[in-house]
Protein backbone atom coordinates (compact mmCIF):
# COMPACT_ATOMS: atom_id res chain seq x y z
CA UNK A 1 0.00 0.00 0.00
CA UNK A 2 2.61 2.53 1.03
CA UNK A 3 5.12 1.93 -1.77
CA UNK A 4 2.33 2.64 -4.25
CA UNK A 5 1.55 6.07 -2.82
CA UNK A 6 5.25 6.82 -2.49
CA UNK A 7 5.71 5.82 -6.10
CA UNK A 8 2.88 8.08 -7.17
CA UNK A 9 4.38 10.94 -5.22
CA UNK A 10 7.79 10.63 -6.86
CA UNK A 11 6.14 10.34 -10.25
CA UNK A 12 4.03 13.42 -9.57
CA UNK A 13 7.12 15.32 -8.45
CA UNK A 14 8.95 14.28 -11.60
CA UNK A 15 6.08 15.41 -13.83
CA UNK A 16 5.92 18.70 -11.94
CA UNK A 17 9.65 19.33 -12.47
CA UNK A 18 9.39 18.61 -16.18
CA UNK A 19 6.40 20.91 -16.62
CA UNK A 20 8.15 23.67 -14.70
CA UNK A 21 11.26 23.24 -16.80
CA UNK A 22 9.24 23.50 -20.00
CA UNK A 23 7.50 26.62 -18.71
CA UNK A 24 10.77 28.23 -17.71
CA UNK A 25 12.66 27.35 -20.88
CA UNK A 26 10.05 27.67 -23.60
CA UNK A 27 9.83 31.52 -23.56
CA UNK A 28 13.55 31.60 -24.36
CA UNK A 29 12.91 29.97 -27.71
CA UNK A 30 9.99 32.17 -28.62
CA UNK A 31 11.33 35.17 -30.47
CA UNK A 32 7.98 36.56 -31.50
CA UNK A 33 6.64 39.29 -29.17
CA UNK A 34 3.11 38.35 -30.11
CA UNK A 35 3.48 34.89 -28.59
CA UNK A 36 5.39 36.17 -25.59
CA UNK A 37 2.44 38.46 -24.92
CA UNK A 38 0.32 35.30 -24.96
CA UNK A 39 2.52 33.70 -22.33
CA UNK A 40 2.28 36.75 -20.08
CA UNK A 41 -1.49 36.93 -20.38
CA UNK A 42 -1.88 33.21 -19.65
CA UNK A 43 0.30 33.50 -16.55
CA UNK A 44 -1.39 36.66 -15.29
CA UNK A 45 -4.90 35.37 -15.89
CA UNK A 46 -3.99 31.96 -14.51
CA UNK A 47 -2.67 33.64 -11.36
CA UNK A 48 -5.75 35.86 -11.03
CA UNK A 49 -8.05 32.86 -11.50
CA UNK A 50 -6.04 30.90 -8.95
CA UNK A 51 -6.41 33.75 -6.46
CA UNK A 52 -10.15 33.85 -7.06
CA UNK A 53 -10.35 30.07 -6.65
CA UNK A 54 -9.07 30.21 -3.05
CA UNK A 55 -12.21 31.85 -1.70
CA UNK A 56 -14.67 30.87 -4.41
CA UNK A 57 -13.48 27.35 -5.23
CA UNK A 58 -12.26 25.94 -1.94
CA UNK A 59 -14.70 27.77 0.31
CA UNK A 60 -17.52 27.94 -2.23
CA UNK A 61 -18.08 31.67 -1.59
CA UNK A 62 -18.43 32.77 -5.20
CA UNK A 63 -17.16 36.33 -5.47
CA UNK A 64 -17.97 38.65 -8.34
CA UNK A 65 -16.02 41.56 -6.92
CA UNK A 66 -12.47 40.44 -7.50
CA UNK A 67 -12.21 43.17 -10.10
CA UNK A 68 -12.18 45.55 -7.11
CA UNK A 69 -9.13 43.84 -5.60
CA UNK A 70 -7.40 43.67 -8.97
CA UNK A 71 -8.01 47.42 -9.34
CA UNK A 72 -6.81 48.14 -5.81
CA UNK A 73 -3.56 46.40 -6.67
CA UNK A 74 -3.16 48.18 -10.00
CA UNK A 75 -3.95 51.65 -8.66
CA UNK A 76 -2.04 51.34 -5.39
CA UNK A 77 1.29 50.36 -6.89
CA UNK A 78 0.90 52.82 -9.76
CA UNK A 79 -0.08 55.79 -7.60
CA UNK A 80 2.55 55.05 -4.96
CA UNK A 81 5.14 55.07 -7.71
CA UNK A 82 3.92 58.19 -9.54
CA UNK A 83 3.14 60.32 -6.52
CA UNK A 84 5.61 59.12 -3.89
CA UNK A 85 8.28 57.46 -5.98
CA UNK A 86 7.93 54.14 -4.20
CA UNK A 87 9.08 51.22 -6.32
CA UNK A 88 6.30 48.95 -7.57
CA UNK A 89 8.22 46.03 -6.08
CA UNK A 90 7.09 47.35 -2.70
CA UNK A 91 3.96 49.08 -3.95
CA UNK A 92 2.41 45.82 -5.04
CA UNK A 93 2.64 44.47 -1.50
CA UNK A 94 1.02 47.64 -0.20
CA UNK A 95 -1.76 47.05 -2.72
CA UNK A 96 -2.02 43.43 -1.61
CA UNK A 97 -2.36 44.37 2.04
CA UNK A 98 -4.91 47.08 1.27
CA UNK A 99 -6.94 44.63 -0.83
CA UNK A 100 -6.79 42.05 1.98
CA UNK A 101 -8.07 44.62 4.44
CA UNK A 102 -10.94 45.60 2.15
CA UNK A 103 -11.69 41.92 1.51
CA UNK A 104 -11.82 41.13 5.21
CA UNK A 105 -14.14 44.06 5.90
CA UNK A 106 -16.36 42.94 3.03
CA UNK A 107 -16.27 39.42 4.47
CA UNK A 108 -17.25 40.60 7.93
CA UNK A 109 -20.31 42.27 6.44
CA UNK A 110 -21.27 39.76 3.74
CA UNK A 111 -20.20 36.31 4.95
CA UNK A 112 -23.48 35.85 6.77
CA UNK A 113 -25.16 35.76 3.37
CA UNK A 114 -25.48 32.37 1.72
CA UNK A 115 -24.89 31.17 -1.84
CA UNK A 116 -26.57 33.42 -4.42
CA UNK A 117 -27.28 36.18 -1.91
CA UNK A 118 -23.56 36.44 -1.27
CA UNK A 119 -22.93 36.48 -5.01
CA UNK A 120 -25.41 39.35 -5.40
CA UNK A 121 -23.74 41.34 -2.63
CA UNK A 122 -20.31 40.91 -4.25
CA UNK A 123 -21.79 41.79 -7.63
CA UNK A 124 -22.96 45.07 -6.16
CA UNK A 125 -19.59 45.73 -4.54
CA UNK A 126 -17.77 44.97 -7.78
CA UNK A 127 -19.99 47.32 -9.74
CA UNK A 128 -19.72 50.05 -7.11
CA UNK A 129 -15.94 49.83 -7.12
CA UNK A 130 -15.96 50.35 -10.89
CA UNK A 131 -18.14 53.43 -10.50
CA UNK A 132 -15.96 54.76 -7.68
CA UNK A 133 -12.82 54.35 -9.78
CA UNK A 134 -14.52 56.28 -12.57
CA UNK A 135 -15.66 59.15 -10.40
CA UNK A 136 -12.94 59.55 -7.81
CA UNK A 137 -11.04 61.68 -10.27
CA UNK A 138 -8.62 63.26 -7.82
CA UNK A 139 -7.22 59.82 -7.12
CA UNK A 140 -7.71 57.78 -10.27
CA UNK A 141 -7.94 60.43 -13.01
CA UNK A 142 -11.30 58.89 -13.85
CA UNK A 143 -11.89 57.50 -17.30
CA UNK A 144 -8.77 59.18 -18.68
CA UNK A 145 -6.68 56.64 -16.89
CA UNK A 146 -3.09 56.82 -15.71
CA UNK A 147 -0.06 56.17 -17.87
CA UNK A 148 3.17 54.99 -16.35
CA UNK A 149 6.36 56.56 -17.71
CA UNK A 150 8.27 54.19 -19.95
CA UNK A 151 11.73 54.38 -18.46
CA UNK A 152 12.93 50.82 -18.42
CA UNK A 153 14.86 49.93 -15.30
CA UNK A 154 14.58 47.52 -12.43
CA UNK A 155 13.47 50.09 -9.84
CA UNK A 156 10.59 51.20 -12.04
CA UNK A 157 9.71 47.57 -12.75
CA UNK A 158 9.38 48.43 -16.40
CA UNK A 159 11.43 46.66 -19.02
CA UNK A 160 12.21 47.15 -22.67
CA UNK A 161 11.67 43.55 -23.76
CA UNK A 162 8.87 41.20 -22.88
CA UNK A 163 11.01 38.44 -21.44
CA UNK A 164 11.40 39.91 -17.91
CA UNK A 165 7.63 40.28 -17.74
CA UNK A 166 7.22 36.67 -18.81
CA UNK A 167 9.34 35.49 -15.92
CA UNK A 168 7.78 37.79 -13.35
CA UNK A 169 4.32 36.63 -14.43
CA UNK A 170 5.47 33.01 -14.45
CA UNK A 171 6.83 33.39 -10.94
CA UNK A 172 3.51 34.78 -9.73
CA UNK A 173 1.60 32.05 -11.60
CA UNK A 174 3.65 29.30 -9.95
CA UNK A 175 3.49 31.06 -6.58
CA UNK A 176 -0.32 31.20 -6.67
CA UNK A 177 -0.49 27.51 -7.52
CA UNK A 178 1.97 26.70 -4.75
CA UNK A 179 -0.15 28.66 -2.28
CA UNK A 180 -3.24 26.80 -3.48
CA UNK A 181 -1.44 23.48 -3.09
CA UNK A 182 -0.32 24.30 0.43
CA UNK A 183 -3.83 25.45 1.38
CA UNK A 184 -5.41 22.32 -0.09
CA UNK A 185 -3.09 20.12 1.97
CA UNK A 186 -3.42 21.99 5.22
CA UNK A 187 -5.88 22.48 8.03
CA UNK A 188 -7.16 25.64 6.35
CA UNK A 189 -8.00 23.77 3.15
CA UNK A 190 -9.75 20.97 5.02
CA UNK A 191 -11.79 23.48 6.98
CA UNK A 192 -12.73 25.48 3.88
CA UNK A 193 -13.87 22.28 2.18
CA UNK A 194 -15.86 21.32 5.25
CA UNK A 195 -17.56 24.71 5.22
CA UNK A 196 -18.33 24.45 1.51
CA UNK A 197 -19.76 20.95 1.81
CA UNK A 198 -21.91 21.56 4.88
CA UNK A 199 -21.69 24.51 7.21
CA UNK A 200 -23.70 23.03 10.09
CA UNK A 201 -21.72 19.81 10.10
CA UNK A 202 -18.48 21.78 9.98
CA UNK A 203 -19.50 23.90 12.97
CA UNK A 204 -20.60 20.84 14.91
CA UNK A 205 -17.08 19.48 14.42
CA UNK A 206 -15.52 22.63 15.81
CA UNK A 207 -14.63 24.39 12.55
CA UNK A 208 -14.58 28.18 13.04
CA UNK A 209 -16.25 28.73 9.70
CA UNK A 210 -16.24 32.52 9.93
CA UNK A 211 -12.58 32.88 10.73
CA UNK A 212 -11.27 30.39 8.14
CA UNK A 213 -13.22 32.14 5.41
CA UNK A 214 -11.78 35.51 6.39
CA UNK A 215 -8.27 34.06 6.20
CA UNK A 216 -9.01 32.61 2.77
CA UNK A 217 -10.52 35.91 1.64
CA UNK A 218 -7.42 37.82 2.79
CA UNK A 219 -5.09 35.49 0.88
CA UNK A 220 -7.29 35.53 -2.20
CA UNK A 221 -7.55 39.35 -2.27
CA UNK A 222 -3.84 39.76 -1.63
CA UNK A 223 -2.91 37.61 -4.60
CA UNK A 224 -5.53 39.23 -6.84
CA UNK A 225 -4.10 42.66 -6.03
CA UNK A 226 -0.53 41.53 -6.75
CA UNK A 227 -1.73 40.33 -10.14
CA UNK A 228 -3.34 43.74 -10.69
CA UNK A 229 -0.06 45.51 -9.91
CA UNK A 230 1.87 43.33 -12.34
CA UNK A 231 -0.76 43.88 -15.01
CA UNK A 232 -0.41 47.65 -14.56
CA UNK A 233 3.37 47.41 -14.83
CA UNK A 234 3.06 45.34 -17.97
CA UNK A 235 0.57 47.44 -19.92
CA UNK A 236 1.89 50.72 -18.37
CA UNK A 237 -1.53 52.27 -18.62
CA UNK A 238 -4.54 51.70 -16.40
CA UNK A 239 -8.06 53.01 -16.48
CA UNK A 240 -11.29 51.84 -14.84
CA UNK A 241 -12.46 49.92 -17.86
CA UNK A 242 -9.29 47.85 -18.05
CA UNK A 243 -8.68 47.07 -14.36
CA UNK A 244 -11.96 47.67 -12.54
CA UNK A 245 -14.71 46.47 -14.84
CA UNK A 246 -16.99 43.75 -13.60
CA UNK A 247 -16.23 41.46 -16.56
CA UNK A 248 -12.82 40.73 -15.03
CA UNK A 249 -14.52 38.92 -12.16
CA UNK A 250 -16.83 37.06 -14.50
CA UNK A 251 -13.87 36.08 -16.64
CA UNK A 252 -11.83 34.55 -13.82
CA UNK A 253 -14.94 32.76 -12.61
CA UNK A 254 -15.43 31.36 -16.11
CA UNK A 255 -11.80 30.25 -16.42
CA UNK A 256 -11.89 28.52 -13.06
CA UNK A 257 -15.25 26.85 -13.50
CA UNK A 258 -14.20 25.44 -16.87
CA UNK A 259 -10.78 24.41 -15.55
CA UNK A 260 -12.01 22.95 -12.27
CA UNK A 261 -13.33 24.73 -9.17
CA UNK A 262 -11.47 24.07 -5.95
CA UNK A 263 -8.46 22.43 -7.59
CA UNK A 264 -4.86 23.58 -7.81
CA UNK A 265 -4.50 23.20 -11.57
CA UNK A 266 -8.05 24.05 -12.67
CA UNK A 267 -7.62 27.84 -12.91
CA UNK A 268 -4.35 27.41 -14.81
CA UNK A 269 -5.97 25.04 -17.29
CA UNK A 270 -8.88 27.42 -17.77
CA UNK A 271 -6.52 30.27 -18.59
CA UNK A 272 -4.51 28.06 -20.92
CA UNK A 273 -7.67 27.25 -22.87
CA UNK A 274 -9.35 30.63 -23.03
CA UNK A 275 -6.45 33.06 -23.45
CA UNK A 276 -5.10 31.44 -26.64
CA UNK A 277 -8.62 31.32 -28.09
CA UNK A 278 -9.08 35.02 -27.35
CA UNK A 279 -5.72 35.94 -28.84
CA UNK A 280 -6.29 33.80 -31.90
CA UNK A 281 -9.71 35.27 -32.56
CA UNK A 282 -8.53 38.80 -32.03
CA UNK A 283 -5.62 38.29 -34.40
CA UNK A 284 -7.48 36.51 -37.15
CA UNK A 285 -10.93 37.98 -37.10
CA UNK A 286 -10.18 41.31 -35.55
CA UNK A 287 -13.43 43.14 -35.18
CA UNK A 288 -15.05 41.50 -38.20
CA UNK A 289 -17.53 39.65 -36.03
CA UNK A 290 -17.81 41.64 -32.82
CA UNK A 291 -18.63 39.57 -29.78
CA UNK A 292 -17.71 36.30 -31.42
CA UNK A 293 -15.28 35.42 -28.64
CA UNK A 294 -18.11 35.77 -26.14
CA UNK A 295 -20.19 33.29 -28.11
CA UNK A 296 -17.30 30.84 -28.14
CA UNK A 297 -16.70 31.37 -24.42
CA UNK A 298 -20.34 30.59 -23.81
CA UNK A 299 -20.22 27.52 -26.00
CA UNK A 300 -17.20 26.11 -24.18
CA UNK A 301 -18.82 26.82 -20.83
CA UNK A 302 -22.02 25.02 -21.83
CA UNK A 303 -20.17 22.01 -23.22
CA UNK A 304 -17.92 21.69 -20.19
CA UNK A 305 -20.80 22.03 -17.75
CA UNK A 306 -22.77 19.39 -19.66
CA UNK A 307 -20.06 16.82 -20.09
CA UNK A 308 -17.52 17.68 -17.39
CA UNK A 309 -19.56 19.24 -14.60
CA UNK A 310 -16.60 19.48 -12.26
CA UNK A 311 -14.49 21.29 -14.81
CA UNK A 312 -11.90 19.80 -17.08
CA UNK A 313 -9.31 19.06 -14.44
CA UNK A 314 -11.80 18.19 -11.71
CA UNK A 315 -13.59 15.65 -13.88
CA UNK A 316 -10.40 14.09 -15.24
CA UNK A 317 -8.97 13.77 -11.75
CA UNK A 318 -12.12 12.03 -10.56
CA UNK A 319 -12.07 9.60 -13.48
CA UNK A 320 -8.41 8.77 -12.95
CA UNK A 321 -9.10 8.32 -9.24
CA UNK A 322 -11.90 5.88 -10.04
CA UNK A 323 -9.72 3.85 -12.39
CA UNK A 324 -7.01 3.75 -9.76
CA UNK A 325 -9.49 2.66 -7.08
CA UNK A 326 -10.81 -0.24 -9.16
CA UNK A 327 -7.36 -1.44 -10.18
CA UNK A 328 -6.09 -1.32 -6.62
CA UNK A 329 -5.94 -4.78 -5.01
CA UNK A 330 -8.19 -5.26 -1.98
CA UNK A 331 -6.27 -5.31 1.26
Amino acid sequence: MKPLTEQLKTRQAAILCIVLLILVLSPLFVKNDFYLDGFILIFLWGAFSGAWNIISGYAGMVSLCHNAFFAIGAYTSTLLFLRLGITPWLGMFAGGILASAVGVILGLVCFRLRSHYFVLATLAFGQVSHIVSLNWRSLTEGAEGIALPIEPNLYNMTFAGKLPYVYIALFLFVAVMAVSYVIEHSRLGYYLTAFRENEDAARALGVKTGRVRLVAMAISCFLAAITGSLYAQYVVYIDPSSVARLQLSVQVALFTIVGGLGTVLGPAIGAMIFIPITIFLRANLGTAVPGLHMIIYGLILILVLLYMPKGIYGTLREKIGRIRATSKPEN
Binding site: R187, T193, A204, G206, V207
Partner: protein
Protein backbone atom coordinates in the same frame (compact mmCIF):
# COMPACT_ATOMS: atom_id res chain seq x y z
CA UNK B 1 -21.46 17.02 33.74
CA UNK B 2 -24.25 18.73 31.83
CA UNK B 3 -26.69 20.91 33.70
CA UNK B 4 -29.63 22.34 31.79
CA UNK B 5 -31.71 24.90 33.65
CA UNK B 6 -35.02 26.46 32.59
CA UNK B 7 -34.35 26.39 28.87
CA UNK B 8 -37.14 27.71 26.63
CA UNK B 9 -37.32 28.15 22.89
CA UNK B 10 -39.98 29.74 20.75
CA UNK B 11 -40.45 29.61 17.01
CA UNK B 12 -42.48 32.67 16.05
CA UNK B 13 -44.37 32.74 19.32
CA UNK B 14 -44.98 28.99 19.42
CA UNK B 15 -43.31 27.40 22.40
CA UNK B 16 -41.11 24.51 21.28
CA UNK B 17 -39.29 24.03 24.53
CA UNK B 18 -40.65 25.19 27.84
CA UNK B 19 -38.71 25.45 31.04
CA UNK B 20 -36.52 22.40 30.46
CA UNK B 21 -34.37 21.40 33.42
CA UNK B 22 -32.31 18.27 33.84
CA UNK B 23 -28.83 16.94 34.55
CA UNK B 24 -26.58 14.40 32.92
CA UNK B 25 -23.83 12.82 34.99
CA UNK B 26 -20.48 11.62 33.78
CA UNK B 27 -20.61 8.14 32.29
CA UNK B 28 -24.37 8.06 32.00
CA UNK B 29 -26.32 6.95 28.97
CA UNK B 30 -29.45 9.07 28.86
CA UNK B 31 -32.24 8.46 26.37
CA UNK B 32 -34.41 11.26 25.07
CA UNK B 33 -37.75 10.16 23.67
CA UNK B 34 -41.01 11.78 22.72
CA UNK B 35 -43.52 11.91 19.90
CA UNK B 36 -42.67 13.68 16.64
CA UNK B 37 -42.42 17.42 17.05
CA UNK B 38 -41.97 17.25 20.80
CA UNK B 39 -38.75 19.28 20.65
CA UNK B 40 -36.03 16.64 20.96
CA UNK B 41 -33.84 17.88 18.15
CA UNK B 42 -34.50 21.48 19.14
CA UNK B 43 -33.18 20.65 22.59
CA UNK B 44 -30.02 19.25 20.97
CA UNK B 45 -29.70 22.41 18.91
CA UNK B 46 -29.96 24.58 22.02
CA UNK B 47 -27.41 22.53 23.99
CA UNK B 48 -24.88 22.55 21.15
CA UNK B 49 -25.26 26.26 20.42
CA UNK B 50 -27.08 26.13 17.10
CA UNK B 51 -30.06 27.82 18.74
CA UNK B 52 -30.01 30.31 21.59
CA UNK B 53 -32.41 29.98 24.48
CA UNK B 54 -33.96 33.22 25.68
CA UNK B 55 -34.23 31.94 29.23
CA UNK B 56 -32.20 29.82 31.59
CA UNK B 57 -28.74 28.49 30.97
CA UNK B 58 -26.72 25.40 30.11
CA UNK B 59 -23.57 24.43 31.96
CA UNK B 60 -21.02 21.88 30.91
CA UNK B 61 -18.52 20.89 33.60
CA UNK B 62 -19.53 24.07 35.46
CA UNK B 63 -18.84 26.30 32.47
CA UNK B 64 -21.70 28.34 31.14
CA UNK B 65 -22.08 27.40 27.48
CA UNK B 66 -25.45 29.06 26.86
CA UNK B 67 -24.09 31.85 24.65
CA UNK B 68 -21.24 29.90 23.05
CA UNK B 69 -21.00 29.03 19.36
CA UNK B 70 -21.27 25.38 18.23
CA UNK B 71 -17.56 25.33 17.37
CA UNK B 72 -16.55 26.56 20.84
CA UNK B 73 -18.86 24.03 22.48
CA UNK B 74 -17.35 21.25 20.37
CA UNK B 75 -13.89 22.36 21.46
CA UNK B 76 -15.00 21.94 25.10
CA UNK B 77 -15.98 18.35 24.35
CA UNK B 78 -19.68 18.35 23.46
CA UNK B 79 -20.32 16.95 19.99
CA UNK B 80 -23.52 16.01 18.21
CA UNK B 81 -24.66 14.07 15.18
CA UNK B 82 -27.45 15.13 12.83
CA UNK B 83 -30.69 13.24 12.39
CA UNK B 84 -30.72 14.18 8.72
CA UNK B 85 -27.16 13.09 8.05
CA UNK B 86 -24.87 15.80 6.77
CA UNK B 87 -21.85 14.09 5.23
CA UNK B 88 -19.30 16.23 3.39
CA UNK B 89 -20.58 14.82 0.11
CA UNK B 90 -17.79 15.40 -2.36
CA UNK B 91 -14.85 14.28 -0.29
CA UNK B 92 -13.83 10.78 0.82
CA UNK B 93 -14.85 9.27 4.14
CA UNK B 94 -11.32 9.49 5.52
CA UNK B 95 -11.16 13.24 4.85
CA UNK B 96 -14.62 13.63 6.42
CA UNK B 97 -13.37 12.11 9.64
CA UNK B 98 -9.98 13.83 9.49
CA UNK B 99 -11.74 17.20 9.60
CA UNK B 100 -13.27 16.14 12.90
CA UNK B 101 -9.93 14.98 14.26
CA UNK B 102 -8.18 18.25 13.37
CA UNK B 103 -9.75 20.02 16.33
CA UNK B 104 -7.59 17.99 18.73
CA UNK B 105 -4.56 17.20 16.61
CA UNK B 106 -1.88 19.68 15.65
CA UNK B 107 -0.75 18.12 12.39
CA UNK B 108 -2.71 16.82 9.45
CA UNK B 109 -0.84 13.54 9.55
CA UNK B 110 -1.74 12.89 13.18
CA UNK B 111 -5.34 13.81 12.50
CA UNK B 112 -5.42 11.38 9.61
CA UNK B 113 -4.03 8.65 11.80
CA UNK B 114 -6.64 9.35 14.45
CA UNK B 115 -9.31 9.27 11.72
CA UNK B 116 -8.09 5.85 10.58
CA UNK B 117 -8.35 4.56 14.15
CA UNK B 118 -11.87 5.89 14.52
CA UNK B 119 -12.93 4.38 11.19
CA UNK B 120 -11.58 1.05 12.31
CA UNK B 121 -13.47 1.37 15.57
CA UNK B 122 -16.79 1.98 13.82
CA UNK B 123 -16.02 -0.69 11.22
CA UNK B 124 -15.65 1.54 8.17
CA UNK B 125 -11.96 1.14 7.45
CA UNK B 126 -12.77 -0.52 4.12
CA UNK B 127 -14.72 2.52 2.95
CA UNK B 128 -12.29 5.31 3.66
CA UNK B 129 -11.93 6.24 -0.03
CA UNK B 130 -15.67 6.31 -0.76
CA UNK B 131 -17.16 9.76 -1.31
CA UNK B 132 -19.62 10.92 1.35
CA UNK B 133 -22.50 11.10 -1.12
CA UNK B 134 -22.06 7.48 -2.23
CA UNK B 135 -22.67 5.97 1.21
CA UNK B 136 -25.74 3.97 2.22
CA UNK B 137 -27.99 5.25 5.00
CA UNK B 138 -26.39 2.92 7.52
CA UNK B 139 -22.91 4.06 6.56
CA UNK B 140 -23.94 7.71 6.65
CA UNK B 141 -25.11 7.25 10.22
CA UNK B 142 -21.85 5.52 11.04
CA UNK B 143 -19.93 8.35 9.40
CA UNK B 144 -21.81 10.86 11.55
CA UNK B 145 -20.67 8.94 14.60
CA UNK B 146 -17.12 8.50 13.33
CA UNK B 147 -16.75 12.21 12.59
CA UNK B 148 -18.09 13.08 16.02
CA UNK B 149 -15.87 10.55 17.76
CA UNK B 150 -12.85 12.00 15.98
CA UNK B 151 -13.38 15.21 17.94
CA UNK B 152 -12.92 13.15 21.15
CA UNK B 153 -16.15 14.29 22.80
CA UNK B 154 -16.72 13.97 26.53
CA UNK B 155 -20.45 14.21 25.98
CA UNK B 156 -21.78 12.81 22.72
CA UNK B 157 -25.26 13.73 21.54
CA UNK B 158 -26.70 11.20 19.09
CA UNK B 159 -29.76 12.19 17.09
CA UNK B 160 -31.61 9.11 15.81
CA UNK B 161 -28.60 7.20 14.62
CA UNK B 162 -30.66 4.01 14.42
CA UNK B 163 -33.55 5.27 12.32
CA UNK B 164 -33.93 3.61 8.94
CA UNK B 165 -31.59 0.71 9.60
CA UNK B 166 -32.25 -2.96 8.85
CA UNK B 167 -32.40 -5.27 11.91
CA UNK B 168 -28.83 -6.44 11.34
CA UNK B 169 -27.51 -2.92 10.91
CA UNK B 170 -29.45 -1.97 14.02
CA UNK B 171 -27.73 -4.69 16.02
CA UNK B 172 -24.36 -3.43 14.80
CA UNK B 173 -25.21 0.12 15.82
CA UNK B 174 -26.39 -1.04 19.26
CA UNK B 175 -23.10 -2.85 19.77
CA UNK B 176 -21.22 0.24 18.71
CA UNK B 177 -23.06 2.48 21.14
CA UNK B 178 -22.72 -0.01 23.97
CA UNK B 179 -19.03 -0.16 23.20
CA UNK B 180 -18.81 3.61 23.59
CA UNK B 181 -20.72 3.51 26.86
CA UNK B 182 -18.43 0.76 28.16
CA UNK B 183 -15.48 2.99 27.39
CA UNK B 184 -16.99 5.52 29.78
CA UNK B 185 -18.28 8.04 27.24
CA UNK B 186 -21.32 9.99 28.32
CA UNK B 187 -24.11 9.61 25.77
CA UNK B 188 -27.31 11.54 25.26
CA UNK B 189 -29.41 9.65 22.74
CA UNK B 190 -32.54 10.58 20.83
CA UNK B 191 -34.23 7.47 19.56
CA UNK B 192 -37.60 6.23 18.41
CA UNK B 193 -36.81 2.53 18.50
CA UNK B 194 -38.02 1.62 21.97
CA UNK B 195 -36.32 -1.76 22.36
CA UNK B 196 -33.02 -0.13 21.52
CA UNK B 197 -33.35 2.88 23.77
CA UNK B 198 -34.76 0.87 26.69
CA UNK B 199 -31.88 -1.55 26.45
CA UNK B 200 -29.20 1.04 26.16
CA UNK B 201 -30.14 3.82 28.54
CA UNK B 202 -29.52 4.12 32.24
CA UNK B 203 -32.12 6.83 32.37
CA UNK B 204 -34.77 8.21 30.05
CA UNK B 205 -36.20 11.68 29.64
CA UNK B 206 -39.58 12.00 27.92
CA UNK B 207 -40.52 15.18 26.06
CA UNK B 208 -43.99 16.08 24.88
CA UNK B 209 -45.01 19.44 23.42
CA UNK B 210 -41.72 20.91 24.56
CA UNK B 211 -42.05 19.86 28.18
CA UNK B 212 -40.44 17.11 30.18
CA UNK B 213 -43.34 14.89 31.19
CA UNK B 214 -41.40 12.05 32.75
CA UNK B 215 -37.91 11.13 33.78
CA UNK B 216 -36.51 7.94 35.21
CA UNK B 217 -35.19 4.46 34.65
CA UNK B 218 -36.47 2.62 31.59
CA UNK B 219 -38.75 0.33 33.63
CA UNK B 220 -40.44 3.26 35.34
CA UNK B 221 -40.91 5.11 32.07
CA UNK B 222 -42.52 2.19 30.29
CA UNK B 223 -45.42 2.17 32.75
CA UNK B 224 -45.63 5.89 33.44
CA UNK B 225 -49.20 7.02 32.74
CA UNK B 226 -48.08 10.38 31.32
CA UNK B 227 -45.91 8.63 28.76
CA UNK B 228 -48.56 6.19 27.72
CA UNK B 229 -50.92 9.12 27.30
CA UNK B 230 -48.44 11.04 25.17
CA UNK B 231 -47.73 8.12 22.91
CA UNK B 232 -51.00 6.20 22.80
CA UNK B 233 -53.60 8.78 23.82
CA UNK B 234 -55.90 9.10 26.79
CA UNK B 235 -58.37 6.57 25.44
CA UNK B 236 -55.79 3.85 25.76
CA UNK B 237 -55.38 4.59 29.46
CA UNK B 238 -59.11 4.63 29.99
CA UNK B 239 -59.49 1.39 28.12
CA UNK B 240 -56.86 -0.18 30.33
CA UNK B 241 -58.60 0.98 33.51
CA UNK B 242 -61.86 -0.61 32.57
Amino acid sequence: MLAVRNISKFFGGNPVLQDITFNIDKGEVVGLIGPNGSGKTTLFNVITGFYRSKTGHTKFNDRDITQMTPEAICKLGVCRTFQITKPFSNIPVLKNVTIGALIREKSLRKAEKRAEEVLEFVGMQGKKDVLGKNLTIADRKRLEIARGLATSPKLFLLDEVMAGLTPIELQGMMDLLRNLADKGMTLFVIEHIMTAIMNLSHRIIVLDHGEIIAQGEPEEISCDPNCIKAYLGEDYLNAQDQ
